[in-house]
Symmetry: C2
Subunit: 148 residues, 2 copies
């Protein structure tokens, strides 16, 4: 899956931390249960988010808390924290075109022109969505679900 599902797991974790972080200690085991991912995977994700400054993790005793306002956490920032070169992984050029063919020799440079634009556009798109938007969606959906 693309823009690896890690990113979705990260958002899941952040929502969880925002909603429950003040009431209980949010550990990797807890997040592992909620997301259905492995605790080590969670720890790696959490670790990346921590290094970017999005969250803090209490050392030794454990527990994660948000470290900055929701509006400052964009999807771009999350993706970047987790997978620094995610945008170059979005679209790939086949690796072994023939250097003997005029097309094969140049295809890499040719595609890079267009692909660079697509990558930039994607980043802009990701920057336009913040955790604030997502949490507001969450509250809206949760409320709607409760009514049924």
């Amino acid at each position: 899956m693309h823009i690896s599902t890690k990113c979705s797991v990260a958002i899941h974790c952040l929502i969880f931390i925002y909603e429950y972080g003040d009431r209980q200690k949010v550990t990797s085991d807890l997040l592992s249960l909620s997301t259905g991912s492995n605790p080590v995977t969670i720890r790696n994700i959490i670790s990346s988010l921590r290094k970017d400054g999005i969250i803090s993790v209490k050392f030794g005793t454990g527990g994660a808390t948000l470290n900055c306002p929701l509006g400052e956490i964009t999807l771009y920032r999350i993706c970047k924290a987790i997978e620094p070169d995610f945008s170059s992984k979005l679209i790939g050029v086949h690796s072994l075109p023939s250097p003997l063919c005029p097309v094969g020799k140049n295809i890499h440079n040719v595609l890079d022109c267009s692909y660079q634009k697509i990558r930039t556009d994607l980043c802009e798109s990701l920057k336009s969505i913040t955790l604030e938007n997502i949490i507001s969606d969450y509250h809206y959906i949760q409320h709607k679900t409760d009514l049924n």
Copy 2:
């Protein structure tokens, strides 16, 4: 690699067909040599492009030719032809969140709100680039290379 490299191979093939299609019979073996991909992979790609109407393939005797003006062939159209649901594969949600957790129960719907926008943005971005642009890049780069 994402927006699978098939898409790059497809563009490679289309450039090749445009440049040499009138001079020689472009077969899957020839394209296989130029792209460095397997002939069957090429045939599958060519077959998808054909079904979309982008190219024609002479049955029996072989050989592919472009079927519509370069300006009408967008990257979006190519991606769509090759991988009809490429945009939903761009970003994935982790598959097994816990239904017992309020976050886990709703995460799928929540993320879909934002992800849908990102997918739409990506499609727009892909629609803005045509084979005409790419071939013009190709000629420019080829010319620059020849000078050295």
